[in-house]
């Protein structure tokens, strides 16, 4: 381990982790409420578990600041390869939860390789587009990247985890656009995709098809698949200005919300904290994202810029899609809310991403 440069401490990134920790702490309190029942004597186990993951995540975040991020640039394929291997291992030895096989279990800890894959794809794309001398005008240069993305996305989709696969897709596309790939290539590629869409539709699981259909008109089947969207908007709206108070959300505690500690954690929060709380949370997310923009812009090199932008894209898409979903603006896709939703791997990977952004920020003056 190299001696720590004094300049690293002077330029230590404080704002970003503080904002993130504020959101994560809110998340744990919300998970507490979402899983709490009046019959419980102590705090709910899942909230305590998430607290443990947060601790581990903070350590991982600090470790991610401890080395020069440019070393990742060389090991991008290694990171990518390890994650793909883990993904391949899932169908072979993974454990099932909620109807899909997503986890690898090590003793009492289960990790979700698809979460790590999201980060690995960001590293890989940052590496790929940092390399080029010129902007990527050629379609031929894009095709290998598309294949590199399609492999893990396909594996995740097969688990099945439509949300994570879609997220890998949009984050990759965002990074490619940022990296200089021309929008027209995507249009060109999208056309045949649209042509095979009806066939792809057939590959989707019935519940996935239903989710998309229900998004189009949730009121059509208020007690069936549209039920979750309606109950979630009722939960959010019923929070009014100040909310019902912590542990007081009726939609949450009376089981009107599905997946209240993961995908629908925001509904729980908005119901109990009202517009005041949810607006503050939105501004916190915006602050995190804008801080990431500042860090990216100030980055010393293309790799740093793209790496931070990838983390930014991941957070951006997850926030927009998740909150859009819980407020009835988007279909129910299993995408979690960053730093808020229950899920150890997700929190850990996001914090590592934040650590890498801090890393880039701290080393912006080092040459």
């Amino acid at each position: 381990m190299p001696a720590i440069d004094r300049r690293l401490l002077t330029h230590f990134e404080w704002l970003l982790p503080l904002l993130v920790l504020a959101v994560a702490a809110t998340g744990i309190l919300t998970i507490y409420s979402a899983t709490w029942t009046p019959a419980m004597t102590g705090p709910p186990a899942l909230a305590m578990r998430q607290l443990g993951w947060l601790g581990a995540g903070v350590v991982a975040m600090l470790l991610a600041t401890s080395f020069d991020y440019r070393r990742l640039d060389h090991r991008a394929y290694l990171v990518y390869g390890l994650c793909v291997a883990a993904l391949v291992a899932v169908p072979l030895m993974g454990t099932v939860g909620g109807g899909s096989r997503r986890w690898l279990r090590f003793g009492s800890i289960a990790i979700q390789p698809s979460e790590f894959m999201k980060l690995a794809v960001v590293v890989l794309l940052a590496h790929y587009f940092a390399r080029s001398e010129r902007d990527h005008h050629s379609l031929l240069q894009v095709v290998p990247v598309l294949i590199l993305i399609a492999v893990p996305a396909g594996l995740v989709l097969g688990q099945p985890d439509l949300g994570s696969a879609a997220l890998i897709g949009v984050v990759s596309l965002s990074l490619m656009l940022l990296g200089g790939v021309r929008l027209r290539w995507f249009v060109l590629l999208a056309l045949p995709l649209l042509a095979v869409a009806p066939f792809l539709w057939g590959f989707l699981k019935a519940y996935q098809q239903q989710r998309i259909l229900m998004f189009l008109d949730p009121t059509k089947d208020p007690l069936g698949a549209g039920y979750h969207i309606i109950q979630s908007t009722i939960a959010v709206g019923s929070g009014m200005i100040w909310g019902k108070g912590w542990l007081q959300g009726t939609q949450n505690h009376l089981d009107f919300l599905p997946e209240e500690h993961t995908d629908f954690i925001f509904s729980v929060f908005a119901e109990e904290r009202g517009f005041a709380g949810s607006c503050t949370l939105m501004l916190l997310y915006l602050a995190i994202m804008l801080r990431l923009v500042v860090i990216a812009v100030r980055a010393r090199d293309r790799f740093g810029l793209l790496l931070v932008s990838g983390v930014l894209g991941t957070i951006f898409w997850q926030v927009v899609v998740n909150i859009g979903m819980t407020t009835g603006l988007m279909p129910v896709v299993g995408i979690t809310l960053p730093f808020m939703s229950y899920g150890g791997s997700s929190l850990l990977c996001l914090l590592v991403g934040i650590g890498l952004a801090m890393n880039v920020s701290m080393r912006r003056f080092l040459f």
């Binding site: 009722i234 929070g239 200005i241 939609q251 089981d255 939105m282 010393r300």
Partner: protein
Amino acid sequence: MAFRRFRVVPREVPPALVRRVVLVGVVAAICVALLIARLWFLQIIRGSDMRATSENNRIRLTRLPAARGLVYDRFGDLLVDNRPSFDVVLVPEDTRDRPQTLAMLARHLDEPGEDLDRRIRAPSRRPPYAGIIVERDVEWDDVVALETHQLDLPGVSIQVQPRRSYPYGPLASHLLGYVGEASDRELVDDPRRRPGDIIGKGGLERVWDDELRGTAGGQQVEVDALGRRVRVLEEVPDVPGDTLVLTIDRDLQTVAERAMADHRGAFVALDPRNGEILVMVSKPAYDPNLFARGIRAAEWHELIADTWKPLTNRATQGTFAPGSIFKVAVAAGLLAEHVVTPQSHVFCPGGTQFGNRWFRCWNRNGHGSVDLHMGIMQSCDVYFYLGGQRLGVDRIAEYVRRFGLGFPTGVALPHEAAGTIPDSDWKRRRFDAPWYPGETLSVAIGQGYVTVTPLQMATVAATIANGGTRYRPQYVKRIEAPDGSVRREMAPEVLGFADVDASVLDHVRSGMRDVVMNERGTGRRARVPGIAVAGKTGTAQVVSLSEASGKGGRERTRDHAWFIAYAPADAPTIAVACLVEHAGGGGGAIAAPIVGEVLAHYFHRTLGPERPLDRETVHASN
């Protein structure tokens, strides 16, 4: 390695890339602004609506139906009770997959799924999230099974409700009546009723529904997404209905029902001093417990389709030709109008010629020389043919009406029949035809167009017994609040007077006494040891005299047997009327023994514990 580490020379980031990242920041800010706008819309603009919706989601108002009032007999015997029953309730809004839930429910309850489906679709005025009772009064095994499968049956719950129960089954069923779920029309009739309410549908349950029903309470219950009750937020307790203490004597009723055995007909006993009904029997009877549990379609059709109409209260709704018991009222008219004197005689050769028709006396050998006393005692038809002919139909009608015939007695029971007392006006109105004198002869012996109800005949007996005062027949003695305090004490109600000289009734009573007490009387079989009984037999022909004998033949053409009586003859405390439909025998042979058996119990308590005869000092203990 070290020199290879920074193989790529760090360089300035191109401005285009920086611009794109800044653009991402702008897009993020716009998106966050849009999401905040959405939150503003949901939480501020639509916030109170959404809050209300979330409250509706979780708060259910449940009605707590009040326990209906209890009903006691005059001695404090419980006649109508409530017991807990377990009902299966379904809230359709709480079911996820309704056909599947119904199929499972049908399997547990062992009933066709279509039946359950129909019951769920039926109620029209049901507020959202109100439960529908799918099945009433399920077995304990089913309760346990449904409770264990609660998680597989969202929206299904078990509700404990007070259920009407009649401990003596069919005893006095026509008087007590029955209860059932309010129909759509009954809901419209009374805005206080709610779908699913149990209301009185027949007998006293219906007439005294206001007193018995009590006031339903309510609960604000918090439920979860599966409709399971989490806790009670608010509760308004129900107020049980008032208690009715009847004038009915349960033991005497039992004896009367037993004495009626398998006969069809009616038996009514009144206290002639105040009009209190001691006994009211109508046979065939039904078991009101069937209705309390929620009668099944098949059972209902069976009751409705039964030829002998078990749901009809023959005592108040059945109209029958009175036959010779009618003569006691006609006799009062004959004396009061001085058409006859107690001393005047007529000769009965076994019939009389009127116009071109021979009206025969029931005794074809003739009664010989007959006066009023003998005419009643031996029920001589010729005496009344001749007397009635001279009195005329209009005066016959006038006098029998004074004893309470021809119009409802005013008893508080639904659909009481008026019977028919014909006169010339009536004939003109009804048939647009003049009255023929020959028809008067039939009327004078209680045949022809004349019809009466058994309760009316009991009133006639009571009015003669008490010296001419006509009381409203009453069966409720007292209404008590649930805590036992008296709300209302029923006073005897005088509706009219026979308005004839005391001597007239004395003569009629003397004849009636000898019907039972004289060795040549027709009602000797109603005798009770140690008690002087007065009465009158009647055998009413169902078809005209010219047709075949009323004794044998097809059941529907057989005679009705009547007996009216009061006792003790000199200071009556009980007046009765007994009708046996299509008895196939005379009143003296069939009805009189039944009356005798009931009177024997009344005076000597042949059944049940010894009870004080002085009704006024008795206070029901409850």
